[in-house]
């Protein structure tokens, strides 16, 4: 699903590359955690996979398609296969919950259909959104204003949006950074469960190595990952599907 070879990303403003010769593969149904301190390149890695950061060297392939060479419709089609849950969930707070969740379908919709949905959502579409919200445990929030939700609820809306995208690869950038411990575990169990049950590849950046070891098939430490060696605990990675 995802194949990264000798990936190097450097910024002109920094003397050393943010990511230096990283190699990594993630298979469908597999969940991999990326750990490391702040600034070690986790977010840059995710943005590079999405085609938002120019790479300095190496190669990233999603479903056999090289990200760096994809442009226009080809890049859009590639992004449709890769859902992202950002650290700050990055929802449009002025929109209602159902509108934010349905944004996950934009990649397969025409512009006119998107406009029609904003003005007059169909019942079948709302049911689809509701099903996604049920998977993250907040179906009752369907019509609420996103700005009125708590941080944890907003994070779940972001996850529902990613699920509605029906991706082959899910990138989660510190999805539990702003959540309490109990909710963090719940969310991680949910994501890993969805990955294993749905055959989706999951790449998740985390601050907490102990959580990573508990929930993910493999753990990669970016500090020592020029060659993406699996961390010690990941050899027999514990898998807790919810």
């Amino acid at each position: 699903m995802l194949r990264i070879r000798d990936l190097t990303v450097a910024y002109a403003s920094r003397p050393t590359p943010v990511i230096d010769r990283l190699s990594l593969q993630v298979q469908p149904g597999e969940s991999v955690a990326i750990v490391g301190p702040s600034g070690c390149g986790k977010t840059t890695l995710f943005r590079a996979i999405g085609g938002f950061v120019p790479i300095t060297g190496g190669r990233i392939e999603v479903d056999g398609i090289e990200v760096a060479s994809a442009r226009g419709k080809r890049l859009r089609a590639l992004r449709r296969r890769v859902a992202v849950i950002a650290q700050k969930h990055d929802l449009i707070e002025r929109l209602a919950v159902h509108q934010n969740v349905m944004a996950g379908a934009l990649g397969r919709w025409s512009c006119l259909r998107a406009l029609r949905f904003l003005l007059l959502p169909r019942r079948s579409e709302l049911l689809e959104v509701r099903a996604a919200l049920e998977r993250v445990g907040i179906p009752e929030e369907l019509r609420r204003k996103t700005a009125e939700l708590s941080g944890g609820q907003q994070q779940r809306v972001a996850i529902a949006r990613a699920l509605l995208q029906n991706p082959g690869l899910l990138l989660a950038d510190e999805p539990v950074a702003s959540l309490d411990p109990a909710l963090s575990e719940q969310i991680l169990a949910l994501l890993c469960g969805l990955a294993s049950a749905g055959g989706m590849a999951l790449l998740c950046a985390l601050h907490q190595p102990e959580l990573a070891r508990r929930y993910f098939d493999r753990v990669v430490d970016l500090r020592e990952a020029a060659d993406a060696r699996p961390a010690a605990a990941s050899a027999g990675g514990v898998r807790l599907a919810s």
Binding site: R79, H89, L91, A103, A105, G107, A114
Partner: protein, 465 residues
Amino acid sequence: MSAGALPGFLGEFLPPDLSIGYLEALARPVMQTLGMAAGGMLIACAVGLPLGLVIATGAAGTRLLYELLAGLRAIPDLTLAILCVVVFGIGPPAGMLALAIFYTAMVGKVFADLFLSAEPGPLEALRTTGASRAQVALFGYIPLKLKDLLTHGCYSFECAVRAAVIVGAVGGGGLGTELVGTLNAFDYHRATTLILILVLIMSLLDKASALIRRAPRLVFLLFPAGAAGLWLYRPDLVAIGHALSAFSSMLPPRLPAAAIARIPRLLGETVATAAGGTALAVVLALPLGLAAARNLAPSALAQAIRLVLETLRGVPEVVWGLVLVSLIGIGPFAGLVALGLHSAGVLGKLYGESFENVRLAPVQAIEATGATRLSVACFALVPLASGPMAVHTLFRLEWNLRAATVLGMIGAGGIGEALYEAQQLFFYREMMAYILITWAIISLSDGLGQRLRQRLGWAEVPALR
């Protein structure tokens, strides 16, 4: 006019003509003015919003588009109105098209700036879903910036109503044409009525804007008004051929040697009118601003002064100019006073707000010494508020240079007078040359002002009209 004759002349403006017959007759020009503004703004939003989005989403050639809008914005509305009157003939269609062109440039550029300032995170999150540029605009840019879009849209509509009166002064129809007619007929009582109606309309618009900002859906009520304006004042299709031939008669622009020799004097008059008008406005606005500051003046006084400022501001420079040309006579001095009065209303309000926004601690420290209110103002409020006041004044000077170029068209001297004369004499190539000169000096002034602000590290603030 001698100073002794002034009170008698001013007395001719009072009382206003409030007879039912006249007020009924005014319904049509009022509707024309509002219709032109609404129709022009509908076109401006329908074209400017997508242009702003195209620029923000970074499609190919957007830098050029942005510069084009900025350049178009440097042609004053009244200058565009003269152009449209020549091309499409006298009447509201010409006025509405002039407003549509000016505000398309204005709305397009400002909306583009707003979209470019949108938080990048949520937009990138939408792009990761594979959304197209148009979908990112629908689900991202517009909801993220809706509040700012409405605020600026309402403000632009208020400006467009004022501008709709102004374009009437050169044959664009509506209240402006009516006002010029009453002044030319020495019917000053009716001129006062028209000015009062204008102030009333601006005051009502101010209230309506506040309402729309609280309940954004009300903005949809403006669409039928805009559509009605568009339908009523649409340019006659059979006149399109005439319009094209009229426009081609302006090309290429050309100035005779005698006219070229006059240009330094005309530009000098325009710059002097702008600088003098701004200086007069500063002198008037400083005490008025202090008296309007609610944290300094007694509440009743602040309220009364705010009403005075609103009235000064509610009457556009060109309308003050029309009255003052009748009062003082043709020449740059009338223009200078017109700019001074209108700008005093604008700067007085902004200065008052600057005084209200200063940090309280240093002010209280001066108050603790037992100082009088005036001393507190001199030693604390004015120095503390001087930064924003300087920014507002510089913006005003820029704006007044733009306004001074058009005041000439109603007899207040400068480059505008030469432009108007050329139009009246059907010297269209000469007229086009003056339009280009006007565009060049306004572009230069805008560019210099922007560079100065960047060098001084002053943040941009919206310039009130």
